[in-house]
Amino acid sequence: MACIEARGLRKQFGTTVALDGIEMRVEEGGILGLIGPNGAGKTTALNAILGLLPYQGELEVLGRDPWTERDQLMRDVSFIADIAVLPRWIRVCQLLDYVAGVHPRFDRAKAEGFLAKTAIGRTRKVRDLSKGMVAQLHLALVMAIDARLLVLDEPTLGLDILFRKQFYDSLLNDFYDRTRTIVVTTHQVEEIQHVITDLMFINRGRVVLSYSMEEVESRFLEVMVHPDKLDAARALKPIDERQVIGGSILMFDGVDRQQVATLGDARTPGIADLFVAVIAHQDKQAQGADK
């Protein structure tokens, strides 16, 4: 059974189309990075998956309809929304009591263990904690829940680099066990490059690219080309070309590695560069189709 399966997922806010027929299938046991520009529909898609939004089309999460079965679904799904949503008036110990009271899969001892590594006092209120501490607290809560799917929407927004690194480190070391599924969106794409196992680009409410990281590595190549060889390189139809000091960097999709190696040093592109290239390429094609 797929963890998340969407077919023709659509959502419209007034005249704005936020999701324009999303097709996605997320298998269990991976870490999916969902990347897209602002307003691409990432948060809308995640909200639909979490049962926070009504939608058109078909959507199943762990075999359930999230819109009508949100409360049952939340026994197996945890999420951290894009902004701090922990109630500001609550004390840390009350929060632990409450989650332990209502969640069948919450391991309080585990949460206490995570918190012991931080400077968060049990009697402090959320409003008195720093932004980083609130993120740590929320992460400690969701990691102590034996969930089958964890959804993180910009979980590290507004945190400093130290906290962000710690966040993903503990996620990988203390939570991810290859049977759980994690879906994460972020604008700090370089941070999740080595965390994710699958990559999905979403733009204008559609999925524009969906590969495993192995596929990304075998398909896409980036080469620093000397100006002399630029014409030869362009003949291989790069999907992107950008100028840097000392030459141009060209990106290729599904070309022969040996052929490309003659042009210069080939390497797997970073997600950020790939994202820019794919989105720009797609926009160019869309414009071409219009003409």
Binding site: M1, N47, L50, G51, L52, L53, P54, L62, G63, W67, R70, D71, Q72, M74, R75, D76, S78, F79, I80, A81, I83, A84, V85, L86, P87, R88, W89, I90, R91, Q94, L96, D97, Y98, V99, A100, G101, V102, H103, P104, R105, F106, D107, R108, A109, D146, R148, T179
Partner: protein, 310 residues
Amino acid sequence: MSSQSNAMPESSLRPQGTATTAIPAARLMYWSVRRELWEIRSIYVAPVAAACLFLFGFSISILHLLVAKHAAPSLDLMQQRELFGQPYEFIEDLIMGTTLLVGLFYSADALYGERRDRSILFWKSTPVSDLITVLSKASIPMVVLPLLAFAITVLTQWIMLMISSAVLLGSGHNAAILWSRVGIFHRWPMLLFHFLCIHGLWQSPIYAWLLLVSGWARRVPILWATLPPLTVGITEKVAFNTTYFGTLIGNRFTGGSEGIAIMERGRQMDPMMLFAPLHFLINPGLWIGLAVTAAFLAAAVRLRRYRGPV
């Protein structure tokens, strides 16, 4: 205090593709109500503070009681009852008024506050349904506040009686007349009935309406909840020169003629008061009100599913 709550037998097993054993609805309800009491401390702080202030004033007035004790033999039975019983009626009215206000303000913010501070996204990430959430919030003004008000009133009256008796005995008087004239013990069952039925059941459509509006409004729910009924009432007055709508709403607050009658009979220790509860429970107004409450709450449950942060 919640160490028992981790001892879930299924936590070690991870059923694949099947639902995890659910937490019983009663436990979800219990934690949801507790959560409300953590957040809105005025639910119990306000009536307790009112009672404490009243006790302070009562202690000062104790001097008057000594004067009254001397005057008592020259008064007839009804006058004595009035003299000694009055502060005990005042505290009832004070606690009723306080809890009514707390209930109104609580309900008008209950489903709005969680959207305003965006914490609804956290509450919705827990396996607590919209139904449980709305019911737990509705139970605060309809069940928790009436019971709390009753307990605080009884406790305060008991303390008042103790203070008075101590002062009377301390000044060499006999406290027996006080105990026989105050008559609060007969009133307590009636008081409990009044709190549960008038404040809990009879007024429930008001709280349900406020909850519904608090779940619907994008801002200032208290205005959305009060201005439309006010407009309807005034329009009716202007158009037909009648006040049916206003009377209808007013009756919901006062408990209607039945509610007032119950309280008055209770105070006069009328032997007929024993029949009043039965009379109240077969009153169609009560059942119509409860049906309206159910409809408002059902709408609030449905609405919460669609609602996110404002």
